[in-house]
Symmetry: C2
């Protein structure tokens, strides 16, 4: 049976989900929902309706799982609890500090409606969280490290664009090689913010702008840059569009721990991602968890779940028997 | 409530489990079982009984989970189905080709007894299997790579010891750097056995033995060495004991895949282990899954399971609430 997926929100993430569904023969796109006038939206999949979200209720029998592709700041805190009243849902809510509150809100509505909501799906939170969990459960005495990058930080790029005299900008977060090597050595170092990551900025300035002033303002910006070693490169708009239009990202989760009656043995567990497209990879994770939500729902499960709760086999299109034979 | 763990078999793996239990405050060692005369066995934990396996039945009310620490060739195929008649069990059965058959045997008995048996726990099968599953579920179009090492292969070391003129030997399996780099590039190369791993041997020969003949015999040994680039070093027994007494291991699971409407974006997911002690790390994984078996059993679950079936949160001593707050 084909899993019928709905997409709510058609930005980079929504388009990534549309593309990922095509790579999974057990799924099909059932509809795309928007808060705008649907006639203004042209999607890539032929014959699939684009509907206003107000019409979602008419589609309850045509959609098995709805993937919410809005933002964590203002969209998901209300959209996920609202949508789970009608559908099994997946979201990528990534405001770490507010996850417990979001979980409770979704859980309450999901239990009332008898639906499943899997929240905070993606890679951090998501696959990185899973690796922090597995690493800590296995090496119970040890230390966790998370590094991000090399990749584009949307928030930091936006912060640079707000500096006077800046037309456009792209910021890369880069893990410091020496810090990674120190962690991999098993030494369990204490690392400062500055020791862990560099920030590299590519900035297009207005004609005649005071570049020295812009650079100083970026480097001293509190929270965003002041605690980091930051490099600023001024380039042309053409160079920015040619060389920095991608949305790569990635990172590392490392667990360093000790075992033995005298803690004499070191172990390093390392998980890393190198992603050409952050939204398309996140979308691929969302689609795998949509499969899990569908199956949990068939099992009669309801309520809010996270990646930490989902049996791994539920993500795969293969049967338990195939998985044991081919992958175990 | 403390989880009471039994150990069956007290070799390197059993001692590793004993040590790992000390690192987990929610667990305690309840008894060690052996097929030998218990009076010949001295364990490291004071006040814990050593019993003959024939007396296991008397301990059914004192042990929540039994961890089986025997070998896959001859012990576990009978021990796991036998033991699950009385206890929840964990084993590290690692004969990949026979896992389906072992699963069925354990499942039949576990369903009859109402117990949980989690089989093939460790790192390969085990954590590597999990990473093959997650990687393939997320990047559904792509290729899997598994590399082992650098680490000691017991089977290959044993094979060398059977060569005439050899007193002792240690064999290291080493992944080829160029192959790893080719995989990490996203090129999805086809790699031969020889291109993936090197074999390095440290050999203690008898006085006056024909070293050239020994080296030739090792390098040409079918299945074990003939398909690899193999290096043989002759060293003294003292050097072997001083420099090669450890049991390090590790390896890499890499998923390389593509996304996008035109498959224009590459992604690399890499999981790696660098282990000072193969048996102690495996033991740490077994102990984490013992926690999961105990919880599944409290949930009323019975039957055979593998790492692919277990919700990750079941491995951790922390509550769902703590995990969402601290790790997600």
């Amino acid at each position: 049976m084909t899993i019928r997926v709905g997409i709510f929100g058609y930005g980079n993430l929504g388009r990534g989900v549309e593309s990922a569904i095509r790579q999974n023969p057990d799924m099909k796109l059932a509809a795309v929902f928007t808060r705008r006038d649907p006639s203004t939206l042209k999607i890539k999949t032929e014959g699939v309706p684009v509907l206003n979200i107000a019409d979602a209720e008419k589609m309850v029998n045509d959609i098995d799982v709805m993937i919410l592709c809005g933002g964590s700041a203002t969209d998901l805190p209300t959209q996920t609890p609202e949508t789970v009243k009608l559908f099994n849902v997946i979201d990528s809510f990534d405001t770490h500090a507010k996850i417990p509150e979001h979980f409770d809100a979704v859980d309450t509505e999901a239990k009332k409606s008898g639906k499943v909501g899997i929240i905070s799906v993606g890679w951090d939170p998501g696959m990185f969280s899973l690796n922090r969990l597995y690493g800590g459960a296995i090496l119970s005495e040890g230390k966790d490290y998370t590094f991000w990058g090399k990749g584009v930080s949307q928030g930091h790029s936006d912060a640079i664009r707000r500096v006077e005299g800046v037309i456009d900008a792209k910021q890369y977060t880069i893990p410091v090689d020496e810090a990674l090597e120190a962690v991999r050595s098993g030494a369990e170092p204490e690392l400062t913010t500055r020791q862990k990551h560099l920030r590299e900025c590519f900035v297009v300035a207005k004609d005649g702008a005071d570049k020295a002033k812009i650079e100083k303002e970026i480097k001293e910006m509190p929270n965003y840059f002041a605690d980091y070693d930051t490099t600023v490169h001024f380039i042309t708009k053409e160079e920015l569009d040619r060389d920095h239009s991608g949305i790569p990202h990635g990172g590392f989760v490392i667990r360093s721990g000790k075992t033995g009656f005298n803690k004499e043995h070191n172990h390093i567990i390392e998980y890393s991602l190198k992603l050409d497209s952050n939204p398309e990879f996140t979308a691929s994770v969302l689609v795998a968890y949509a499969r899990a939500a569908y199956r949990l729902s068939l099992d009669g499960v309801s309520g809010c779940k996270t990646v930490l709760d989902i049996p791994p086999a539920y993500l795969s299109a293969k049967s338990g028997k195939e998985l044991r034979k081919e992958l175990l």
